[in-house]
Symmetry: C2
Subunit: 448 residues, 2 copies
């Protein structure tokens, strides 16, 4: 992608309304533009990262056996009256009346609708389990939207719903998502810690929040340090098998958000040198809520004994658009974003130090073509900006590998390769740069 | 994908509310489920087709040089007051009031928002041209939604916006989209005809609708038969070059929707044996509307002469969710859908005639694994349904290649391969079936 064709409105100043670093950097790097309180347009740079996060989330859902569909954003009020939540939900629900005075709403979540879809098509225990998910924009009319995409009103959520014949099977579905979530966040480069959580208005008796530690996190969290050192299950994990021991290995350790925190238990179970108390960002939340919705909405299936039973359900959310904020909180420095390869908007930036010079233009274009033919994603700064501006912009947007091409080096057959991760630089031939990068990108994209 | 894990609620009866074949088949094949007037949930089968259409649309936009971003569904009323369309738009705009009594709306289109984004970041003619697009759900509160996804209220649209320094450059952007649209529909297997069109409330003086002929089309259309025989420009078309002659080759022929139809001109320009009068489905619409929005909203750039000029703009829409209806209208028979490989929800269906039989199960699983390892997308009917039901279901959902595996054939090392396109069947070894299919799928997915 030529930068001159791209749309990258970077800002020199930090907008005053942004109080946390991820919000500041998303605005400064031209990733988002506010279109109302808690409502953002995803500019091309931010959109690319969002899509990559979405794709990682999707792949791990598919791997865990969930099936994707897509529910509409607008829902009928009557559907929510069936569960009793239409009146209960309060002002966070964006209520809408259409031209025929029908009561509708912009979906804040989809338990009701998925239950309606399930009951319309599933009759027998033989069709279970069912794990269905979608990745769709939701709206919650937060009274005080803040922190950019971290607590927006219109936000992208992946929500999965499970339907099972009994509690044991429901637990298996729950475990699938538990493990899928650990893998998802790990692939994004984030260490997530599952914590006992309050089930809140969704209801149910089994629930975990997945928390990424960050100083700017909204919640105070407490856990055993051993959890921080535990790697996520690797690609060989068998989602058809029994995942209970993998889950138990984690849940045996103390980990709780402040709502669920029990000081006495914490001090009893965790030796003082292992006690972590920190701030965290909630990036996922999973619930098993039994038959709360299936009973209210008559979502029943025929059991093996010929009797109808209400399906055991769970729901499982990941804040896809919020994750981009969490990632920046985790990966940045004074100069800007530092994207891991797996979610970088571009893998490589090419900086042309003398746009208009035939030799330099030619060398840059060659590099660009060579890299793109290897499926490496390139942003090529072909503009006439000053060199300093080009360097600063490439660092701000956080491209992991940056190749600078200038007339002087080129005479000696040399370009400069900079690694955003540590700022290290090396001079090498264009071919050597391409080979080095190819390997690094392949490594960064490998799924473990 | 195992059918037992998938969610495919096929219907035996045709729902009474569906009057056209695409709507009937989408409901019967379990592709969509209505969630309100003109509002549909995309069930897993329909979702897969929708995603593939979206991806083809995206690839051709990218090829033509457009840059993707994503604007939110909810917009501020004040933005639309700037262009004067807030009051003018009428009841098709879904108006919303939030908890703080702010006036908002669910975007029916995005001229205003993209103009706001453009003016915030582009200052100079040097940054032009800009071609920006997004693929996002829109809402138009149609008084009488009908024909399923063909005229829904919540629908998926790809909309591109172009910004240029003058009319000549704007024409180049227009031509890019003109050619990209021909390629997009051709890749989907559809013959589209660009027709002179009324510009309607968007305004402007240059506009074409892209029409696919279908008996159930909403518009009456008139054109020269030569247009039907003209292939779309192939993959070697140079979007950076001059596309005018490619556009002229088409626009020189008479083609108009009924709103723009001129009987006298038609009869004068087209010899009687070449006059086509038919019904058509509008799948795309492109507009050049000059400075209508840029002037109203002060989206100006510095020209080469140092003077500020309002950007010349155009907008270019494709009805992504509507296309799935157009595709079914074009590709179906008595038994159901007949998907072209490029958009088929699955490439191959495997029908197990004796689920539970070790040998048959094993052979099916082998076939499935072999095909999936070649990136062939498989739906494996591992259920205990009767054979006739399995055959009918596979035809209904329209899987292009169907392999039936039964105990008798298997003893002789033979499976049956059926082609959905013509119903032809052949018996062959599983290896031969895999090889045959691999080649056909590669051919079907090749971009010309």
């Amino acid at each position: 992608m030529r930068l001159s064709r791209f749309y990258l409105p970077v800002l020199k100043e930090t907008p005053a309304e942004a109080t946390i670093i991820s919000h500041q950097l998303m605005l400064r790097a031209g990733m988002i533009r506010q279109q109302g309180a808690g409502i953002y347009a995803w500019l091309p740079l931010g959109f690319r990262v969002l899509k990559k996060i979405e794709q990682v989330v999707r792949e791990e859902q598919d791997r865990a056996g969930a099936v994707e569909l897509l529910m509409p954003t607008i829902q009928q009020a009557d559907l929510w009256r069936e569960s009793g939540r239409y009146d209960a939900y309060g002002k966070e629900m964006l209520r809408i009346t259409d031209r025929h005075d029908r009561e509708m709403l912009f979906g804040p979540t989809n338990e009701e609708m998925i239950t309606e879809i399930f009951r319309a098509g599933v009759r027998s225990y033989k069709d279970l389990p069912k794990l269905l998910y979608h990745i769709q924009w939701k709206f919650r009319d937060e009274i005080r939207p803040r922190f950019g995409v971290m607590r927006g009103r219109e936000f992208l959520m992946k929500d999965t719903y499970s339907f099972d014949i009994d509690k044991d099977e429901a637990r298996r579905s729950y475990n699938r998502m538990f493990i899928a979530y650990l893998r998802t966040f790990a692939r994004l480069g984030l260490k997530s810690i599952p914590m006992r959580a309050d089930t809140g208005p969704i209801g149910g008796d089994l629930s975990h929040e997945f928390i990424v530690l960050a100083d700017t996190g909204e919640s105070e969290v407490f856990c055993d340090r051993d959890l921080l050192d535990m790697p996520a299950p690797d690609i060989n994990v068998d989602f058809e098998g029994d995942l209970q021991s993998l889950v138990d290995q984690r849940t045996v350790h103390y980990a709780a958000t402040d709502e669920m925190h029990d000081v006495e238990e914490f001090e009893q179970k965790v030796s003082s040198e292992k006690r972590v108390s920190a701030r965290g960002i909630e990036v996922g939340h999973i619930f098993n809520f039994g038959t709360k919705y299936s009973k209210a909405m008559n979502a029943v299936v025929m059991g093996p004994d010929g009797k109808e039973v209400a399906a055991e359900m769970g729901s499982y959310g990941i804040g896809v658009s919020r994750l981009i904020g969490a990632l920046i909180e985790a990966f940045h420095d004074e100069q800007g974003c530092k994207w891991p390869v797996a979610v970088a908007p571009f893998h490589v930036g090419i900086i042309n130090l003398k746009a208009g010079d035939e030799a330099v233009d030619g060398a840059c274009t060659d590099l660009w073509r060579q890299l793109e033919s290897q499926n490496v994603e390139v942003i090529y700064d072909d503009t006439r900006s000053r060199a300093g501006e080009k360097f600063a912009r490439m660092d701000l947007i956080g491209v992991p590998y940056q190749i600078t091409v200038g007339p002087r080096g080129l005479k000696e057959g040399i370009v400069e390769l900079k690694l955003r991760i540590d700022g290290s630089k090396q001079e090498l031939s264009p071919e050597a740069a391409v080979n080095f990068i190819k390997e690094k990108i392949a490594e960064g994209l490998k799924v473990h």
